[in-house]
């Protein structure tokens, strides 16, 4: 037979479980959010941060430096469009659209990264 005290105890534990679950789920949901934030960095300083999900019109962003570069942003994706650097690795990387995607220009020390992590891998070899 359950006594009053037992019921109180079960009640408290139950409430504790519900509260902690809510927090855990909340935390997970933030991580799995659909908002894709792209950041443009020059020498590891963020110069621009864009929510790709809220882009409506294609947009050109010019980066001046040792080599000038142009970044193109569209809804849900971003890329280096033009670059004056010799190797064009950044332009050849193409569109970035998933979390964790990254394009880098080594000669100019610039990069575009979509924040967050790919769900399947932590890192990819080069």
């Amino acid at each position: 037979m359950l006594k009053k005290g037992d019921i109180v105890l079960i009640g408290i534990i139950g409430v504790a479980i519900v509260i902690s679950s809510v927090f855990v789920l909340q935390y997970k949901r933030v991580d799995n959010g659909t908002h894709k934030i792209a950041v443009i960095k020059v020498k590891d300083k963020v110069v621009k941060s864009i929510d790709l999900s809220s882009v409506t019109e294609p947009q050109r962003i010019e980066i001046s430096g040792e080599y000038n570069q142009v970044v193109l942003v569209e809804n849900g994706r971003i890329r280096f469009l033009e670059a004056e650097c010799p190797d064009k690795v950044c332009v050849n990387t193409g569109w970035l659209s998933d979390k964790g995607d990254m394009a880098v220009c080594i000669p100019n020390s610039t990069m575009i990264k979509i924040e967050g992590q790919s769900s399947k891998v932590d890192i990819v070899t080069h």
């Binding site: 006594k3 009053k4 935390y27 880098v104 932590d122 070899t125 080069h126």
Partner: protein, 368 residues
């Protein structure tokens, strides 16, 4: 009646009191155990957000992910260490020990640091076991091709033949006692581009360890070194680059802890002249970019310096000889990708390599 009720009530009260005591004990135990768990488990920052840092050095991108409270400070220490290694070992800017060693080729010994001695010894060792497929005296050929420069060009065969006579790892003399080294012939050039980044990645892991970090990784231009596993104790998932796909695309996933993973490929640096692609991994035996039938090699080893040298060596050797070499070395595994888009993995990877090719362009060949 009243008495009975009273007794009942008393009983009820004592039970309540007991239960209340139990509740306090339970809560206290849970609380204490929770505290002690967070104090003692190796995965202290289980829920913590990782610290990520991207920086540029050694002519490439360096990415660190660290789980620790003072991660930013540690990442700075790592970058300082890497820049120091770069200054000692680079040939792409003036100064440093390797430049001095090259300048004194054919004349004198040059005093070098413990770092440089170690890397030169490693380089010679891998040259020997790969029968010269990996050779850090490749410098004169790399310079002639100029693949990493603004003006790459295809040299004449005659010119390459002449320069090839300068490529020979046996001409590096190392005097450990006196901490000095020498190149035998004038014109010889050591280029540590195929091994220095691997060494730097090992040194980064060493710094993480010194700071009691249990979960971190560093990626120096594709030289990936893992410390521990993820904070929850599971292994890191490392994608193996699809050599014909964009950066970040992969053909399979390796699950690993405390390992170094390095890829080499014809896609990393190259130039195209008259419709022919010339990549940056020069075969010391032909003077031309290696044409062994492989387009990508990935080595999994305990040390990044080993994986770095072996990924280049096997890329030059090709599938059969490359496999033979890897199978000879204890604790080293490999994934090879051939020109006809077949993927081969060593037997030791059976449990940790998962073929996963979203591009649907590759075929996984389990048995050779």
């Amino acid at each position: 009646m009243e008495k009975t009720v009273f007794i009942k009530r008393t009983n009820g009260e004592t039970d309540m009191g007991k239960n209340f005591l139990t509740l306090i004990v339970v809560l206290a135990t849970v609380c204490l155990s929770a505290c002690s768990v967070s104090e003692n488990t190796p995965y202290k920052n289980f829920e913590a957000e990782p610290y990520e840092n991207t920086d540029f050095a050694m002519g490439t991108v360096i990415n660190q992910r660290i789980y620790a409270d003072n991660a930013e400070e540690i990442s700075r220490k790592v970058m300082e260490r890497i820049r120091q290694i770069e200054d000692d070992m680079t040939i792409n800017k003036p100064g440093g020990e390797i430049n001095r060693l090259n300048d004194s080729a054919g004349t004198d010994f040059v005093k070098v640091s413990e770092d440089t001695l170690y890397v030169l010894e490693k380089a010679k060792k891998f040259s020997e076991i790969s029968n010269g497929a990996f050779d850090v005296t490749i410098g004169p050929l790399v310079k002639e091709w100029g693949i990493s420069t603004d003006k790459p060009a295809v040299p004449s065969m005659e010119r390459l033949q002449n320069l090839m006579s300068l490529v020979n790892y046996r001409d590096i003399t190392i005097d450990r006692e006196e901490s000095k080294a020498k190149l035998e012939k004038k014109g010889q050039l050591i280029d540590l581009g195929g091994i220095a980044k691997g060494f730097a990645a090992d040194e980064a892991i060493e710094i993480y360890r010194e700071h009691n970090i249990r979960s971190a990784f560093i990626n120096i231009g594709g030289n990936i070194a893992l410390l521990g596993g993820k904070p929850d104790g599971s292994p890191w998932k490392v994608g193996i680059r699809n050599p014909r796909g964009p950066e970040g695309s992969y053909i399979g996933i390796i699950s690993a802890k405390d390992k170094a993973i390095v890829s080499s490929g014809d896609y990393q640096r190259y130039f195209i002249k008259d419709g022919t692609k010339y990549h940056h991994i020069i075969d010391p035996k032909t003077g031309y970019p290696a044409d062994s039938g492989l387009i990508g090699t990935t080595i999994i080893a305990d040390l990044s310096v080993d994986a770095d040298a072996l990924s280049t060596a096997t890329f030059v050797l090709g599938l059969e000889k490359g496999m033979e070499l890897i199978e000879k070395i204890e604790g080293v595994e490999a994934v090879f990708i051939t020109k006809d888009k077949k993927v081969y993995a060593t037997e030791g990877l059976a449990g940790s390599f998962k073929f996963e090719d979203d591009s649907k362009g590759y075929e996984y060949v389990k048995k050779r």
